[in-house]
Symmetry: none
Subunit: 219 residues, 2 copies
Amino acid sequence: MLDKKMKLLIADDHRLFVEGLRFILLEELHIEIAGFAINGKEAIEKCNKENYDVVLMDINMPLIDGIQATLQIKTLHPQIKIMMVSMLSDLPTINKALNAGADAFILKNTDSGDLLKAFKALSKNEIFISESLAHFFTRDADNSLKTKKEYIQFSENIITPREQSVLKLIVEGYTNQHIADTLFISVKTADTHRKNMLAKLNLSNTASLVKFAIENKLV
Amino acid sequence: MLDKKMKLLIADDHRLFVEGLRFILLEELHIEIAGFAINGKEAIEKCNKENYDVVLMDINMPLIDGIQATLQIKTLHPQIKIMMVSMLSDLPTINKALNAGADAFILKNTDSGDLLKAFKALSKNEIFISESLAHFFTRDADNSLKTKKEYIQFSENIITPREQSVLKLIVEGYTNQHIADTLFISVKTADTHRKNMLAKLNLSNTASLVKFAIENKLV
DNA sequence: CATGCAATACACTAAAAGGTGTATATTTTA
DNA sequence: TAAAATATACACCTTTTAGTGTATTGCATG
């Protein structure tokens, strides 16, 4: 793929960012910016019409987000490489992106060198993860990417379904008593669920639990 | 100011964005990129050392955010123009930025034309707001900017600056004691701030306060 | 079929937060 | 300049959470 130009679709709704990106990639002779999309829906449509080699996909986009778009694009066009770009480095999101089929995950706060490395990796059918995120992962003998054991816990649901129900109510501002009444369990049980979540997430109070829940979209 | 080059400090931790910006502004003969900062603290320090005409300031930055940095820079160097850049278009944030002394507010999803318009406006000592945000505001006879009545309720600080400081720490999971120690106030005062917020927002506990704070981007 | 996880429940103690009310100095603003 | 808002601080009492630990039941998977 290195011998001919990679056709790139940029799917990102931050125009300033995209314009900057254009200038950065202008100098790259083996990359051709072949299209733009300002949301996931448009990205999907364009991939169905045109032939792209790579999609640079923002996670947060209107209408359809980058992860949903990746899923749909990979279903119909598995050969298209998806390079995920995000502001945030939370593991659940990265895992979701990779599970959706993303081939690279870079942060918007990495430098352009990393970006170009990612393109090179993709052209060699490798999976690329920004250095600052790499510590979450490990590679198998077959070079496949695995989330490190110590982080699996984090990404996979440590929070059990029942705990999630409780958590949802906690975020709504319910007290243990109210939660107990709602779920037809004892106050003690509701309290135990809360405490278990605090313990396993290494948090010390409800405020940070609520923050965690919202940030990790567990509610 | 138009006759000589504007010295610009770019304060943003998204390197890809910054690099792109550099390319965009390279073509502008009356703008000179004179420095970079990757957080609010660095921006403040650089403004104390060097003479800049304009700071392009991201809202969300590590250590010290753009709004705090703006406050501090404007206190010591009121002549420096601050151009706020943000991903999000929520009114409380815009108002906070303007109250902190920002001279322009543009979104990262506007095009570079808007960016250049903003620079021009600053050089004429005008306040510039991205078009897509302009509907929140109205101009007085004296051309000063006012939040439209229908938005005031939203924007005007239901939550006072001090309360916001406390709120920020609450969201971080701090207890009243810890908040008191951090802000050098009595536990009672920290507690009063918390209680006042609960009262005026009609909430009954910290969990819902945290939720409110995150949803309304007050943190 | 045993081991582990999930869900349930409880004891006890300490710490924190919630409810209500008061008070005062300072700053903003009408 | 007077009124309003803000930041500060405290009293008293109740409710809720946090910290630590135990325990039983059922279900699933190795």
